[in-house]
Symmetry: C2
């Protein structure tokens, strides 16, 4: 998982809380990163239909979805995140040994299962849930 995911969740919680239009600069300030990175992430969140953006002066973005309906799984998907991933495969397909040639695929399967387990967990949490963790005394 990259920090894009943390940033996206943070951003949505922020936009949900401040209902008015926010600029990428204000969001970046709250998240502690730079506006260009925020805009790149906003663009994916917009494609997924979670937020709406407005260009030009007085532009910015705001939350347009139902916070209780947006799960962290949906966000991770919108970003194309893979919670568990390993770049290097061990062994090599063209080796004349069932272990050396087969372990790469077997481990891929296992990581796939781990990802499914993660997505299942993420599907059980919504932006509304996170908001409630940050503001436990809200009405």
């Amino acid at each position: 998982m990259t920090s894009e995911f943390s940033i996206a969740v943070h951003t949505l919680v922020f936009l949900n809380h401040k209902q008015d239009c926010q600029t990428s600069e204000r969001i970046a300030e709250n998240v502690c990163t730079n506006p260009a990175r925020i805009r790149k992430i906003l663009s994916k969140l917009k494609k997924a239909g979670f937020i709406a953006t407005k260009e030009g002066i007085d532009g910015g973005c705001h939350f347009v979805a139902e916070p209780g309906a947006i799960t962290l799984e949906m966000i991770a998907c919108a970003l194309g995140e893979t919670p568990v991933h390993v770049s290097k495969r061990t062994g090599s397909l063209d080796m004349d040994c069932q272990i050396a040639s087969g372990m790469g695929g077997v481990m891929d399967d296992i990581y796939e299962q781990l990802n499914q387990a993660c997505f299942k967990k993420l599907s059980e949490m919504t932006i509304a849930d996170i908001d409630a963790m940050i503001f436990p005394d809200a009405p």
Copy 2:
């Protein structure tokens, strides 16, 4: 998850299959990496009691545990792996905003839950299971 985990599992399957003593060089060859890396990982697997090593000429290592009793969770623990981790935290504790100061901790909790889900999955797979995937026609 780093590739150390894939290498460790591959190594244990390899050692389990070849019951005799194997050098780090042979293992490295099968895994497609270098002997020094293998030795570093073997040292952790040894501490966990999965293998025994022998120094000096004619040295090497061999599997000493019951393949059906060694789960992938035990291996991941022995290596100190964290399946899901994000280095950067968003926001900052000293900011005067509940979201900016609180999201870091909330996301840490979530990643912790994902890790638990992964470990649970990993606890359901043993070296014997992996061996059976590689050699489906074994007795």
